[in-house]
Symmetry: C2
Subunit: 459 residues, 2 copies
């Protein structure tokens, strides 16, 4: 099996890379309606590639939003079934001026593929298509496979729940396999066993009914930008960096001393971390390490703010409104709906005289903790040990993949978060990139997961 | 004289309006380099109109920025000389979507001219051109006139000081006449005797060297938007609404009880004020009336803020930077340079760990108080009494015309701030408008100012 995989990759290396590059050229930005045609074109391309790889029953399933691409290969109903999940949509690429090369004209520099979506998630999703091709062509596919590739992950997977509910039988499986997370490092393989949840909120503070001259009205009329800044500054305690929304921490489960000790054994250098980001200090919640702050503790970040005159030069305006996008990362047992309600009620209470506040919700997702004493975890760990030469560590990720909770609730199965990216891939940032080494390491590792998983389930 | 003015206006009413409408069609936005050709075209148009009205020696004087249009009519060197100042540039028009008609396609609705610059200052500046035409054509020009119409008032008149210094002899005069302010109401004529100064600042807060994924880094890395909001919230005390910059009030001269009593006799309804702006409360400095807050007290307003993702939908970014435009209105005896230095030092001191702050200065201007026991004030008051049927009240304006202090320093003369706008003209806002009544009332009043001023100076 080892030589079959190695040889197939060697003989098809350029084509595997070129096919990914082609996929990266389509700007499938799901957040921006201007890219609608491109998102749909990407769904077509993914479906076509699945068919070419030998997947059966490929279809582009419509939803109320962007379609879900489905396909399967059922070799024997008595064998286990792995559902591969991925997404073909990408984050917006702006700010464009900070990219060193255009986000949708992929280039390889220093053995890394630079393009929006290279790591998140086209590159990681496409590893599964190519790994499947190898297993098919080399006759080493040990079990059944289903593919579900969606187009709305970056905007909250709003229609995935309905689709999954409506297609329970079709999607029935023994586990879900997802590559949309990171390794600790290329020489420290890891499998994500915890992910933070998300509550994403938009706030609008309005003052006077029109933009005013700040000289004529300034000093008497509440300025919505000043008001919004005051309100935002009250969301986090300045010293402890704890979130001040009443009730926010009520459902947070503290980690045991053992869990914290284990977590902090992950190799990590605060100096390297700061030096990579060119910052002189971090600024996290008092009493927790950086690893804990970014994986096991809830957080609040303003993701965007705007109001007043945004152009060049100066304009003496007292604006009519100001708005912000604010998101909170949640930990297991915190519920997005409850947190959103707590946020709304607290934030509205901060509104100063002369202003009004509107709070609206973008999307939310539950946090996830995956158990490690399962065939899923063991098979993925063993697969990584085979190709990395080292056992994989269980790791907590700071990001959110809300669909993991969904699959558990609706399909009753666990997910395996076997990602091959790195935290430094700059996903969601300018110059997103994915290592060529990581791409092929993923393609190489995935067939072993299928192999070990089938073995363990059939024991 | 009365019938000559009235008849001339009656016979040329449509042309006077149409000429202004043509001028308003040119988008002379000085703040935005995209409009450079239009700003220059406007200078040409103003020069041409001055020539047509009978002004001599008209020239378009280059500066390091936009040119200054100069022209004069010297009828007798022994007579007084009035220098008319105005500006042909306008504020940016955005947000465009709030205009009911395009900002540079002027329309008259309900006897008001809707267009960017209609009141500030093309409409008010052009009253002087037409009043001059009447005095020339009807042979009632009693003294010498000089015109200086600049193109950078809305961006801080950066090159006016150099130009004035270099052309002292050419600009020599007995007083400067400016129409760039408001009446208290159409039935309450007033002359502005005080104006606030201005310090306009831009701040940039930077954190990590690139935009980050808020799930991966959120909780450990300082977020520049959150930091900027915290810093801005510390510029004004939440309860007293006093500005908290150390030393900010040191040079503020308190008004005497008599001055405050007089000032608050100006007819004013807080209920009408709030109802006009659709706000349920005002939010000004404790212990002062709305009139005082907006005219005799210094203020601080954020004029614009931006950072992170500004597009549609959601993006979970922890941005690399956030910026704001912040301006302070100053009162007499406060100095923009000193205030800018105090601001910079205090604002920088508020920078939290993990961030850096850059403070830069756009422009500043000194506050102004004009004495009322002068021929300039008396002549303007008498002119308004003649045409409004009511003596003009002395009033304090909240806005800033930095050039008034400049003229006093360099030319050694006082300025007369005889404006014909209204606070409700929405200058600097969408749907800027200027009353047709006000336009013609200005044209009618100006010749009387020349008449009374010459009389008083020659006594």
């Amino acid at each position: 099996m080892e030589s079959k995989i190695q040889n197939y990759i060697s003989n098809n290396r350029d084509r595997f890379l070129n096919e990914l590059m082609e996929l990266l050229k389509i700007p499938s930005v799901s957040a921006d309606p201007a890219y609608k045609a491109d998102v749909l074109k990407t769904a077509d391309a993914v479906a076509q590639r699945l068919r070419e790889a030998g997947v059966d029953n490929v279809e582009i399933c419509p939803t109320a939003g962007y379609p879900i691409v489905y396909g399967d290969k059922i070799i024997d109903p008595t064998k286990p079934t792995v559902l591969v999940y991925g997404h073909y949509d990408v984050q917006p690429a702006d700010p464009l001026d900070l990219w060193h090369s255009p986000p949708f004209e992929p280039v390889i520099k220093n053995d890394r593929i630079y393009a929006r979506g290279s790591a998140d998630d086209k590159g990681q999703m496409y590893m599964h298509v190519k790994a499947f091709e190898i297993m098919m062509k080399e006759n080493i596919l040990p079990c059944n496979v289903k593919f579900m590739i969606e187009g709305e992950e970056e905007v909250g997977s709003a229609n995935l729940g309905t689709f999954t509910e409506a297609n329970k039988a079709k999607l029935a499986c023994d586990c879900v396999l997802i590559s949309d997370t990171s390794l600790i490092a290329n020489d420290i393989p890891s499998i994500t066993v915890g992910l933070r949840g998300l509550a994403y909120i938009e706030v609008l503070v309005t003052g006077p009914n029109r933009d005013l001259h700040s000289g004529v009205y300034g000093g008497a009329v509440a300025n919505p930008i000043n008001a919004l800044c005051e309100m935002i500054s009250k969301l986090i305690d300045e010293k402890s960096r704890k979130i001040t929304i009443p009730g926010f921490y009520d459902d947070v489960l503290d980690l045991s001393t053992e869990e914290r000790t284990l977590l902090n054994q992950i190799p990590f250098s605060a100096e390297d971390y700061k030096s990579d980001l060119k910052i002189d200090a971090t600024r996290g919640e008092e009493g927790y390490t950086i690893i804990e702050q970014t994986s096991t503790r809830p957080t609040l970040d303003v993701n965007g703010i705007k109001g007043g005159y945004l152009g060049e030069g100066a304009k003496t305006v007292l604006p009519s409104w100001a708005s912000a996008k604010i998101s909170m990362r949640l930990v297991p047992n915190q519920h997005p709906d409850k947190i959103q309600a707590l946020f709304k009620s607290y934030f509205e209470s901060l509104t100063p005289a002369g202003c009004k506040t509107e709070v609206s919700f973008h999307h939310g997702g539950e946090a996830v903790v995956v158990p490690i004493d399962t065939p899923e975890f063991k098979a993925s760990s063993k697969a990584m040990e085979k190709t990395f030469g080292k056992a994989a560590l269980p790791a907590r990720g700071g990001g959110s993949i809300p669909i993991v909770a969904l699959f558990e609730q609706v399909l009753g199965v666990k997910s395996v978060l076997m990602g091959f990216g790195l935290d430094s891939d700059d996903i969601h940032s300018p110059n997103e990139n994915y290592g060529v080494w990581n791409y092929f390491k993923g393609i190489e590792t995935i067939p072993y997961f299928f192999h070990y998983y089938t073995e363990m389930k059939q024991k």
